[in-house]
Symmetry: C2
Subunit: 240 residues, 2 copies
């Protein structure tokens, strides 16, 4: 049976099939080997995700998927006293929600590899600019609704849950900040990903998948590749 | 149940999740409403596709998908006396193979809308250049292995099968040639699509899907959208 890869997360998952997106890149990479299923919920935090979990997974997989990415925290880490306060989830609840989400998948799909992804870094000036444009708040002393420091705390919290449960984790908060000018080269609005940012995450997911034995090299191809078809006797390739 | 859209075809389908690809764009458009399943087989013609049909559809859908795109002909139309001769399928066989493929889907998934797509136009100078680079043939009088005229005949043949069977058809051969400088703006190597070419097909598929009642406006969203969540009482949106 063709293995399946489920992508579960917030807007950075939902938007992962836009041009240059990491979800589309995964689908392309495993085009002849695996199916990628998108379950992205823009704006959602772990509290809301947990609430809708069974409904969100309807039709996602009948058999255990090979792997599922769980990518929340960017909204949980919204500051509790700014315009996105209603998206905020306290740090401890974020961790217990992550545990509950992983527990749900572990019970429903015992053989599925659960890959946690930390929230990405935040570039505050771009967030302030966006808030000004959307909410019309034009106070230069105004704080961003998300900060890189808060995102970093949630990233650490995510990593510690992953270690506790024994799941692989991608620390995209740290990884992304290793890239030159990540603030604008990897992030489009201080939070969401540019094609470069998408590539960074794509490569991390590919590396993590390979570490659990899910790679182009190890997965069978579902049907003969064009290069395996003998021009002198094409039909031979299709004999079972 | 979340509706499903299956994309079945040759390399132009298999590569449809590359950056700017039409398959990825469909996934993005229906991210909260439908699943898109990729079944692209690079290099395949209708003869080979027909041979592997049940295997190619393994895991694609348990229930009837809402729609399936059937997009072959670019390889069938390869000239029978050039370097891609082994991909050539005579025009009459191409038509009977298309009928058999559609018949298979009609029987397996009676309620699924079958959308035929004609082969795209060909820009011969780019094909000759590619043949020279790949096969090292440097004869300026050399013919391309695919011609726009041949592709046009297969496009007509595809349209006539679609009419005969009562299936919607996208005449991408004609449509693409309406665009300025389509030879290089829509095609990257005289056959495969640039992001612009992908956009042209994407819009045609979206229009055709809408004509059978499959659109952003008509499909339900599987869970509350962020904008429907009341910041003052977020959990209210999740009461079932």
């Amino acid at each position: 049976m063709r293995p399946r890869l489920v992508l579960f997360g917030d807007s950075i998952t939902e938007m992962s099939f836009q041009s240059g997106g990491w979800g589309a890149a995964l689908t392309d990479r495993f085009a002849r080997q695996a199916d990628v299923v998108l379950r992205g919920l823009s704006g959602y935090n772990t509290r809301w995700a947990l609430k809708v979990l069974p409904r969100a997974m309807e039709g996602a997989a009948d058999a255990d998927p090979a792997a599922i990415t769980v990518f929340f925290g960017a909204n949980d880490a919204s500051l509790p006293d700014q315009v996105s306060a209603h998206q905020n989830v306290p740090l401890e609840e974020y961790q217990s929600n992550l545990r509950a989400i992983c527990g749900y998948f572990k019970e429903r799909w015992p053989s599925t590899a659960i890959i946690l992804i930390t929230p990405p870094p935040i570039y505050e000036p771009a967030r302030i600019r966006l808030c000004r444009d959307i909410h019309g708040v034009d106070d230069p002393s105004r704080q961003a609704e998300r900060t890189n420091e808060a995102a970093g705390s949630y990233a650490q919290a995510c990593i510690s849950v992953a270690k506790e449960l024994g799941h692989p984790v991608i620390d995209i908060w740290t990884k992304m900040q290793e890239f030159p000018d990540w603030q604008t080269s990897a992030l489009s609005d201080g939070l969401h990903f540019t094609p470069t940012g998408n590539q960074i995450l794509f490569h991390e997911v590919v590396k993590t998948l390979a570490s659990i034995g899910f790679s182009q090299e190890s997965l069978p191809s579902d049907l003969p590749r064009y290069r395996e078809i003998d021009p002198k006797d094409p039909m031979k390739a299709f004999e079972v």
